[in-house]
């Protein structure tokens, strides 16, 4: 069990910077996921931790000790490669036994340990076979067996499930999570699949182009993304973005879209969005599940003056029935946003509808930097005015 810390780590390959000034702390015993698109630097991150790459700058600290100069074979960390790297000319038994043999354990002990691990992973009946004789899922488990057999300080996994078919991936995800819970060891798991990261991680680190975007619990990142990149990478369908104008009135701040206006009251919000006002615009973010479609025209005026009960006039662009739910693409002004609706949603393209946005779940992003300026919540007084 060990904590892993990266202090200001930079790694370059020729002219490309794979990882830039990275600061990260992975806690003892946690299941830590690293999520990002291809080329984000996730594999490089793992290779730096295990020692197959040396950082140009910064320190790698494992269990409190700086290990920059320590050879990978001595770091006591196991790694499962993306393409497994099973020794093809060795039997399953020899593959799993290999790390123990490097440690010069006694033969009897090795046999005992390998058989125990194989039983745990339900591959004990395959011990005499070669990797080429196994199915994808079986090879996967041999790779896991080889990693856990010597009980290292931490386990690194590089997209271990990406080559499996959907059903097997699901089973393996559950098994891996169960394994980590029972072993109580530090797992660092790299993936580009946001569902995997959300479902498995105690905490997630989001990376893009070598730069760490956000590190937090999955629920927190989903609810409070730091910037538009993070907001897009989690959630399917991803968050909708609407470009709006921002101006300051007397009692309130106005966020104006061609089809609607938001009035924003409260000092905290107004200060946070001050920069947006200066720039004259802001990007409004709202998740598909936080938009509601009304098929009938709402009645009259509310007390307080909102026409249409505060809903926005819009049109159905296209509907995507997925069986368990329907994704409805709605045209608001010149934008098209995606909304999640029930599986029996009955609305044809071109039909006029009325849209409500959950004012407590809106996000405001800076026009230029795309960083998040403010996340709305229940405490805020934000009102949607259609038209």
């Amino acid at each position: 069990m060990a904590s892993i810390k990266l202090e200001n780590v930079t790694k370059r390959f020729g002219k490309t910077t794979a990882v830039a000034g990275l600061n990260l702390e992975i806690k003892n015993g946690e299941f830590f996921c690293v999520l990002g698109p291809p080329g984000a630097g996730k594999t490089t991150l793992l290779r730096l931790i295990v020692g197959l790459e040396r950082p140009e700058e910064g320190k790698i600290i494992i269990g409190g000790e700086e290990v920059n100069d320590l050879h990978p074979s001595k770091r006591d960390i196991s790694m499962i490669f993306q393409n497994l790297a099973l020794y093809p000319d060795k039997t399953v038994f020899d593959n799993i036994a290999f790390p123990l043999r490097q440690q010069k354990e006694e033969r009897a002990k090795i046999r005992e340990r390998v058989e125990a691990v194989a039983r745990q992973l339900k591959i004990d009946w395959l011990l005499e076979k070669l990797p080429s004789q196994l199915s994808g899922g079986e090879r996967q488990r041999v790779a896991i067996g080889r990693a856990i057999v010597r009980q290292p300080e931490a386990y690194l996994m590089d997209e271990p499930l990406s080559n499996l078919d959907a059903l097997l991936r699901l089973e393996m995800r559950v098994s891996l999570k169960e394994l980590q819970t029972s072993l109580k060891e530090t797992f660092v798991y790299v993936t580009h699949d946001q569902v995997e990261a959300l479902s498995m991680g105690d905490r997630i680190a989001i990376m893009n182009a070598g730069v760490l975007q956000q590190v937090d619990e999955p629920g927190a990142i989903y609810r409070y993304p730091n910037n538009m990149f993070v907001a897009t990478i989690l959630g399917n369908p991803p968050m909708n973005f609407l470009k709006c104008a921002a101006s300051d009135g007397n009692k309130e701040l106005l966020v104006k879209h061609e089809s609607f206006t938001l009035t924003v009251k409260g000092d905290e919000v107004r200060t946070a969005l001050g920069g947006a006002v200066k720039e004259g615009g802001v990007i409004l973010g709202v998740r598909p599940e936080d938009v509601k479609i009304h098929l009938e025209k709402p009645n009259g005026r509310e007390p307080g003056g909102r026409v249409n009960g505060g809903l926005v006039d819009a049109e159905i662009y296209v509907t995507e029935p997925l069986g368990n739910e329907t994704i409805v693409d709605i045209k608001i002004g010149s934008n098209v946003i995606k909304v999640l609706a029930e599986s029996d949603f009955a609305g044809a393209p071109g039909r006029r509808v009325w849209i409500g946005l959950n004012e407590h779940k809106l996000h405001f992003f800076d026009l230029e930097t795309h960083a998040c300026a403010y996340h709305a919540s229940e405490r805020d007084a934000i009102e949607l005015w259609g038209g």
Binding site: H71, P72, S78, N83, L84, P99, Q102, L130, S132, Q133
Partner: protein, 284 residues
Amino acid sequence: MEQKLFVKILKFILVIVVTVLFLFPIYWMVTMAFKPYTEWTAAGGKIFWYPTKPTLDNFRSIFSKQLKMNPIAGTAIRPVVNSLIVAVVGTAIAMIAGVLAAYGISRYKRGGNLPFSLLQLRMFPPIAIIIPIMIMWAFLRMIDTWFGLVVIYGVVTLPFATWLMKTFFDDIPHELDEAAIVDGCSNAGAFVKVVLPLAKGGIASTALFVFILNWSDFLVALVLTDRRWTTIPVHISKLQSALVGQLYGPKAALGVIAAIPPIVFGILIQKYLVRGLTFGAIKK
């Protein structure tokens, strides 16, 4: 459809012709080795397509102390032994150095533009440099010694061995080395315990090629040896008589004998020439 059939027949005929062209010399040599004197001399202008009275005379004569028709040549036993020693040691040198160099080039990407530099070396005709080498060897008293020959054989085939082995190492995914290192091996340990076993096929086939190159060398052996360390090709060239001209029968016999070690060697390492060693290690 008719067109296709015509083309098929044409291709078939072509294949037969080429095969015959290539196999005929071998057939000729083997049959000649068993022909009696009367059949391998050209006198009379009659061509014997196969030995009508097969005999082992030729074989006996090359191993006799003094050849019937050429007192100078001497027995072929020594040349056979010499060839074996020199070819094996020369191959060993090329392989040991070549394998190590190839691994370094494959994994650590040093060595500049290897293929190009190797090609340059091979393009240099040996005949152009053999005289200066002979002079150097004479100065170093390395003429007619086993190590004089072995050094040249090793050095000349080294680039070829390196190049071939590099391609074999390239085929072994470097993740396997890395997995071994992560599993606790030192860099050298990973090489010996994981990569070398997987490269067995490559090493075997490269060694075979190099051996054949060394075994069949004529020019270098001719120039750098005298009496004690002549090799088979040189000895064959000595099998002539003033009276009769080229002693084809004995030459053929020795040729047949010379063909045996490469064939035996090849059969011995056949199981290492199996492809598909890396299948299953890496997910595609």
